[in-house]
Symmetry: C2
Subunit: 412 residues, 2 copies
């Protein structure tokens, strides 16, 4: 593992100065290699699927593990999308002269070496490699043991692509073992790894955060709220609340708690409850909500629960300030929405809610890198430092100061 770390650091120096054209050539070559290797990839995946079946792996994990031609097409399409994005590296902003005569700006640069730890989905191997590559970073990938053979087959294509473009083989390295201690060793490579990106369940992310001194880009809970304001358009409110909850249940940007202003609750709750019933969503409400629509009673625990399923907590609130306080107190700082036609209310909500994404009159389910125009993402950060919200190319970069002078010296 130490050797992988040192090799990654060395490769990162070459990647940092690689031209946009070279990085593009690597992405295209990886896509071509995947296209050419469809059969071996599908065979490797079939072996993983069979092993998962033997090991009684949970069905959702097995579902995410499967990789057919459609999945390979999507990986290739993803590579083309990342290739089409603007190269973030080298961009200089805020370049200005100072009274001393020196000129100072900020230049976007790679982070260096990214350690990526992820579960089941084998397509992450390509997505992560491509994002890291485009942002000029070397990466060490540690996929789940259940996708071991699939990841190996995919990594072979990645290696073929990067070496065809003349980039170092160690630009992308897959940890070639299912030994669980490998994760622990990766987390100890402070000297060589600049940031760890865990992608998977809460357990994985907490383990990683606790075991490493390397900075971690975390993707934790999504306890997302929709607040229906007193001055909401009732039709928009019902449609947005329904979509925020029910478009997909098991996603981090799904609404988990609905807050409704007391004046509009009698208007919007009955039709919304009816719609949610068609999607088999269980409602758990405060007393005021239950007085309007019959539903189960919410307990205190419901306000901090990420259901990731067909359950919705509902609370009727007296005003906007109470809604904002509830969100800042019980939310997870992921994505929160106000539905309103009132200009001042929209501004107050945006200003006061302390979350990675704050929305007006839009579904919480828009909160992802692709919808935000980032092209792809490695996760959605609920941290406040560095990357916040969907993390795309920019989150995998840093900025350094560049100073241009003509021989200026400092006099104090």
């Amino acid at each position: 593992m130490q050797e992988m770390g040192a090799a990654a650091r060395s490769a990162s120096r070459a990647l940092a100065v690689a031209s946009t054209a070279t990085k593009s050539a690597a992405l295209v070559a990886i896509a071509n290699a995947l296209d050419a290797d469809r059969e071996p990839i599908k065979q490797a995946n079939a072996a993983d699927m069979a092993a998962a079946d033997d090991n009684n792996v949970d069905q959702p994990l097995v579902d995410r593990l499967f990789l057919g031609d459609k999945g390979i097409d999507q990986m290739i399409e993803g590579l083309m999308q990342i290739d089409a994005l603007k190269d973030p590296i080298g961009e200089v902003t805020d370049l200005n002269y100072r009274p001393t005569g020196i000129q100072i700006g900020k230049m976007r640069v790679p982070l260096g070496v990214i350690g990526m730890i992820y579960e089941s989905r084998p397509n992450v191997t390509v997505d992560a490699a491509a994002l890291c590559l485009k942002a000029g970073n070397a990466c060490i990938l540690r996929g789940g043991s259940e996708a071991f053979s699939s990841n190996q087959a995919i990594a072979k294509c990645v290696t073929a692509g990067i070496t065809a473009a003349g980039l170092p083989k160690a630009s992308v390295q897959l940890v070639a073992t299912t030994d669980r201690t490998a994760v622990g060793e990766l987390l100890k490579l402070d000297e060589f790894v600049d940031v760890i990106v865990p992608r998977g369940g809460k357990g994985l992310i907490e383990r990683v955060s606790n075991e490493t001194r390397i900075p971690v880009i975390k993707h934790l809970d999504g306890i997302c709220h929709v607040y229906i304001d007193s001055e909401a358009d009732p039709n928009k409110a019902v449609a947005l609340a329904f979509n925020s909850k029910a478009e997909k249940f098991a996603v981090c940007n799904a609404m988990e708690t609905l807050l409704v202003h007391k004046d509009i609750a009698p208007t919007v709750l009955p039709p919304l409850a009816e719609m949610l019933a068609t999607a088999d969503v269980e409602l758990r409400g405060c007393e005021k909500a239950r007085a309007i629509v019959p539903m189960n009673a919410a307990s205190a625990a419901d306000w901090t629960e990420e259901y990731l399923g067909p359950i919705l907590a509902i609370k009727v609130v007296d005003d906007l300030a109470v809604a904002v306080d509830h969100i800042n107190q019980f939310g997870s700082g992921h994505t929160d929405v106000i539905v309103t036609e009132n200009y001042s209310h929209s501004r107050a909500f945006i200003q006061a809610v302390d979350s990675a994404s704050v929305m007006v009159n839009a579904s919480s389910q828009f909160a992802d890198g692709f919808e935000y125009g980032l092209g792809a993402e490695v996760g959605i950060s609920t941290d406040k430092l560095h990357a916040r919200g969907p993390v795309g190319l920019e989150g995998l970069t840093s900025q350094k100061y560049v100073v241009y002078g003509s021989g200026e010296i400092r006099k104090r």
Copy 2:
């Protein structure tokens, strides 16, 4: 300490939505209070100075502790400078429509609660409070025990200023004890503190980093290099190298290692050695350097030493690539300079050197927040994530996504 944390979190909500005018009124009121309280502040400082004398505190610490009318003037001037800076909060950038109809941008917002731990200089109490306030953050300040009375007297003025402007008293809280366990307790307030900024010696910063799970904005070593390229202007090179080393020795942006291209070394080393001799700088060189100018021999340890004093390590290198490798391997990623008239060499150096500040033909001693136009700084970060280089107002903020819609729902 728990209570201070909860009060700070609560105050941070009010500060986050405070208007620019209110924050400005607070800064001006603090300045007025300091001006009115000159006598009690000087008396408190005299008590600290006497105690330091009794306790045989090191002379450099005592020097930094002293606060006279000039120091009070500087604190007032610092407040006015921070007041004159643009309010960073609420700035929206990159606001664009997406094909779905939603409009997405990034809004600059406060981090929340800052924990600041610092040594001796009592002026940090005002500087840190003012920067945090302007950036909309609440802060908990833990000054050094040797400045206990001075900090109390200053904090009284800060409290007077913030309350006069109608902001919560807990916007700025000074830990009112010299008990050393207070630092440990502050470091455990994960729930309430968003970031810790230690300002002081390496020991303090390492202790803080090891003891907390709260993100830390670190200010570590400054092992800064100047590389004199084969195509440097010899006069500029000598002047820049001298200034980078000798303008001040005990600063993190002082040059510690000089790298010189072999072709220009015979031209620049003799006059530079002569100038450095006038400042009593001891030279420690590689064999090639010693063949040009008599000096002590450098050992391997000299390439990684932050002298913070009148010693300079000198190495003659074969070319630019060797210089860059040396900097990336032995440097601390703080500030590194190339002196050259060659366009391509300047570009290659800027691209390849992985440091917070990379300079062409300017003194390394320019690397600070004031010279960069940030107004003031809480430190110089050698981290790559979040803030890098001099950390001013922007380093004390975060960005959240704002999404404006007209009722759009997501369809997959």
